[in-house]
Each structure stands twice: as structure tokens, then as C-alpha cells.
């Protein structure tokens, strides 16, 4: 999202590319943009919330990139508490995990008014329609138990479902966020 909305500065991207190269990756590891602490970069995990900022022509966004690991859930809560929109990322290979459910429950406990479930890494399951539907169904039945103030309001999920089988394009997430949010929006993004 940050990259697509052109919010990454050249020197930041160069630094991330340099680190990725130094570690022998043949790709640019964009997670290094928000994993700013030494131990996070060493272990390749997110420990604490990182705040990032980007803007679309109509709104300014604050993204709280929060850890998914169970032992850092308390840091995820810090990031989620001020959010207007929660994005829970699900790895398509693993499906809905205990942590995904836990995060959804926390977001609903904190009364975060909007929740987007993002099925990620669809390329690694060959864009399997079945896999996507399975996660979708599983989460919809689970979500009926949550108190998300506007549970019926999922216009984009419907649209995404119509073109299912396609990877969830990242700017679709931005569009959804733009539709949901007040002039200055804080989103909490939980990565698995």
C-alpha cells in the first residue's frame, strides 16, 4: 500500500534494497520498511507497532503495522486501540489461524468500527478459488459472533468475491479504506 501510494522515499527504498541484497535475497524485502528495530531485522519478525503515514488526495492515513506473533499480542492491542479500520492479513496457505481469530476478536472488543480480512499470498496457492472461498466462508461464520458495529456493511468484499480467483489487489484495500474512513484515518494492519 505504501509503495503503491508512492509514500516510500527514495532513500528509504534504497536502504531496504541494500539490506535485502546484503542478506542475499533476490527480491526487495518490503517488510524491512516497518521492521525498524535491530532485533526485528535480525529475526525477521515484527515485535512492536510501527507507525507509517500516507495520503490519498482526500485523506491522510496512519498505518499501525502490528505484530502477529502471540507473544507480542499486547503490542498489537496498543496499535489497534486507536484504529478506525482493522486489516487482518491471512496467509492463504495456512488459512484462518488461531491468531487471526484472536486478532479479529480483539478488534471487535476494542470497537474498531471496520474490519477487512485480507487473504494474502494467493499466488502461492495458484489463486485457488476453493481456498479463497473456504477462508471466506469460515470467517463469515466466525464473524457472526463478533460485535463489529456494522456487520452487514461489506460492499467491497462482495465485489472481491465476484472476481474471486484473482489476487486481492492492493489498491482495492486502499479503496475500501478510503470508503470507510474519516478525514484522518488510522488503520491497524496485523501481519501473520
Amino acid at each position: 500500500m505504501l509503495l503503491d501510494s508512492k509514500s516510500i522515499f527514495e532513500d528509504q527504498l534504497e536502504a531496504v534494497e541494500a539490506t535485502s541484497n546484503a542478506r542475499g535475497y533476490d527480491y526487495t524485502d518490503l517488510a524491512l520498511l516497518t521492521d525498524g528495530l535491530r532485533s526485528e531485522r535480525e529475526q525477521g519478525i515484527t515485535i512492536d507497532v510501527a507507525y507509517r503515514y500516507f495520503a490519498t488526495p482526500s485523506r491522510k492515513f496512519i498505518i499501525a503495522d502490528t505484530p502477529g506473533h502471540v507473544q507480542y499480542t499486547r503490542n498489537m492491542v496498543t496499535g489497534a486501540s486507536t484504529a478506525d479500520l482493522g486489516l487482518v492479513l491471512v496467509d492463504a496457505r495456512q488459512g484462518l489461524t488461531e491468531q487471526s481469530r484472536r486478532h479479529a476478536v480483539i478488534l471487535s472488543l476494542l470497537r474498531v468500527p471496520h474490519l477487512v480480512l485480507c487473504v494474502n499470498k494467493m499466488d502461492l496457492v495458484d489463486y485457488s478459488v476453493d481456498k479463497y472461498n473456504q477462508i471466506y466462508e469460515e470467517f463469515t461464520s466466525f464473524a457472526t459472533k463478533l460485535t463489529i458495529p456494522r456487520p452487514d456493511d461489506h460492499p467491497d468484499l462482495g465485489a472481491e468475491r465476484r472476481q474471486r480467483g484473482h489476487p486481492l489487489r492492493q489498491h482495492a484495500v486502499v479503496r475500501r479504506a478510503v470508503a470507510a474512513a474519516p478525514p484522518r484515518a488510522r488503520a491497524c494492519c496485523v501481519r501473520p
Binding site: 522515499f9 527514495e10 532513500d11 528509504q12 536502504a15 539490506t19 520498511l33 516497518t34 525498524g36 528495530l37 535491530r38 532485533s39 531485522r41 515485535i47 512492536d48 507497532v49 510501527a50 507507525y51 507509517r52 503515514y53 491522510k60 496512519i62 499486547r74 503490542n75 492491542v77 496498543t78 486501540s81 486507536t82 474519516p182 478525514p183 484522518r184
Partner: protein, 303 residues
């Protein structure tokens, strides 16, 4: 038909309200707060917000400045005008004095910017400050992006980034033990662009060096540094006069300027809106040494 007024705050008003809330919380909660002032645009915005938070009363805490001895004269002049207008107490801790007293050791290799850490921690201990406002913003740098608004420092002034406290909604935990202190970042959620919009909106006075001017500069490590007696030229470096401005201010020997024609705040906003390099990337010598340079300095107790 009645038209209802829109009571939603603009995003600048919302940021301002959040920061003012933080200032009042700290003033109510801590015994001895102080505002760390560098003379840069962020600390000037902090002063303005503190002024608003307590108006018409005076700001109920002193302003602490670390004098590196290499500060821009324009910045010091601007600081004095602010301090006089607001009538706040100014505490200056000098790096040179700290070196003379043996508090910090100048080995000739360490920059004045780093020596500030020891000087600052010493001043905090001497004055017994328990909370220090800093102008750090999360959009500045990746280690700062991780920091809480209330950021705990142990008795040695160190930050432990792996063990930060939960901070939910606008509830801040100000509990500290004797000898420890808290760093407070009221501008956490502001971006560089927000700061400039606010400076424009409030018509805030800034040091002249933020605006385009002619200056004798030379190039070092891809940065344009100002010519000065503190900063002797190395072989192969030549001085040229160019039209420049500073995006950040700090130690004169390390703060680079950028070539620019932007002479007013709206010009600067236009320039930043299309900038492709962060302000630190463009202008800070000290962040270039390693990928975790800022985190390491912050762990030691830097701003």
C-alpha cells in the same frame, strides 16, 4: 431547512488537539517536566502548542537546550526571541562545559551531535527532570516509528525498544521510579508536511535558514555542508556559493542543506509534497553510519 455545522475537526486541528492533550496530561502528572528545544521547526511547533495548552497562563515548565557550541547563530537568535516572548525559563546545557568538566569525553572522532547525549543525561540528572518533551515524529525515521508517545527511560537514560509499555487510546502511563524519566513525544503523529501546514496556518516565526538564501557551501558525502571555522575543508573540497535552505537544523558541522529557491512557507510545502527523499536522508550526517544508527543512539539516551 437548517444546515448543520460540520463539527468534525480538520486533520491539523485533530493533531493539535491530541498534542495539547498530551501537554496537559504531562503537566498534571509529572513533578518536573521540561521541553527539549533544538531551535528546529519541530521544537518551535512544540513551543507554540505548549503556549496554547496553558494560555493565558505561562508555560509551567522550563525549556532545555543543549548547546553544542556549533549551533547556527540564526537559530539561537530565534530561540531567544521565543523565550522572551513567552517568558519561560531557559536552561542551557553546554557540550563544551560538559567536556571541560569531564562529563563527556571528546576523542576527536565523535561528533558533537553524539556528545549531546551525555550532556543531556547529565543535565536531566542535575535538574532532576522527570519528563522531557521531544519533537520527534514517527515519520522521521524507522526507530522513531516504533516509539510510544510516553517513552520510558531507565535510570541510565536508556530506551528498551523490546519492552515498551502498552499505550491504549489516549491513556498514558506515566509511572516511573526514582532516577528514571519519561520522554514525551507530543508530535508523534505529525508528518513533515503537517508541520509546515501548521507553521503556515499559525504564522509561526522560524529561523531564517529554513528559507532559501545564498550561502557558501561545500560538498561532502553527497551532502551540502556550510562553510565554517568549525568544519575545516578536507583535501579536494571546494567552497561554492549557492542558493540553499535547510530542511532540518542541528549541529552545523553535520547538518546538510538542499539547493532550493523556496523562500516562503507555501513554496516549501510545494517542494516537500514532491520530494522523494526524507528530510533525514537529505540532511543528516549521523544517520548514515549504520542501518540502526538512530536506534543505537536512542538506546543510549539521545533525543
Amino acid at each position: 431547512m437548517t444546515v448543520h455545522a460540520d463539527y468534525r475537526l480538520s486533520q491539523l486541528d485533530e493533531l493539535e488537539a491530541e498534542s495539547i492533550h498530551v501537554f496537559r496530561e504531562v503537566a498534571a502528572e509529572f513533578e518536573k517536566p521540561a521541553l527539549m528545544f533544538s531551535g528546529g521547526k519541530d521544537s518551535i511547533v512544540m513551543l507554540r502548542l505548549a503556549e496554547k495548552a496553558f494560555f493565558p497562563a505561562k508555560i509551567p515548565f522550563p525549556v532545555l537546550q543543549i548547546d553544542t557550541g556549533y549551533d547556527f547563530p540564526e537559530v539561537l537568535a530565534c530561540r531567544d526571541r521565543w523565550v522572551n516572548r513567552l517568558g519561560v525559563r531557559l536552561v542551557v546545557a553546554s557540550v563544551e562545559e560538559a567536556m571541560a568538566n569531564g562529563v563527556v569525553v571528546d576523542d576527536g572522532k565523535t561528533s558533537r551531535n553524539r556528545l549531546q547525549t551525555g550532556t543531556l543525561l547529565n543535565a536531566i540528572e542535575e535538574e532532576g527532570f522527570t519528563a522531557l518533551f521531544g519533537g520527534g515524529r514517527r515519520d522521521e525515521e524507522k526507530a522513531r516509528a516504533k516509539e510510544r508517545v510516553y517513552s520510558h527511560r531507565d535510570e541510565f537514560g536508556q530506551w528498551d525498544p523490546k519492552n515498551q509499555r502498552p499505550e491504549l487510546w489516549s491513556l498514558y502511563n506515566g509511572r516511573i521510579h526514582a532516577g528514571e524519566h519519561m520522554r514525551i513525544f507530543p508530535l508523534s503523529n505529525w508528518t513533515e508536511l503537517d508541520i509546515w501546514h501548521y507553521l503556515g496556518q499559525e504564522r509561526i516565526e522560524l529561523p531564517e535558514i529554513y528559507f532559501a538564501h545564498r550561502r557558501r557551501v561545500f560538498e561532502r558525502d553527497g551532502m551540502l555542508l556550510t562553510e565554517s571555522d568549525f568544519n575545516p575543508l578536507r583535501p579536494g573540497e571546494t567552497v561554492q556559493e549557492r542558493t540553499v535552505r535547510f530542511r532540518t537544523v542541528g549541529d552545523l558541522t553535520l547538518t546538510g542543506c538542499v539547493e532550493s529557491e523556496a523562500a516562503t512557507i507555501p513554496d516549501i510545502i510545494d517542494e516537500i509534497a514532491v520530494a522523494r527523499v526524507t528530510e533525514r536522508g537529505a540532511t543528516w550526517g549521523d544517520d548514515r553510519f549504520s542501518e540502526a544508527a538512530m536506534e543505537d543512539r536512542k538506546r543510549e539516551g539521545y533525543f
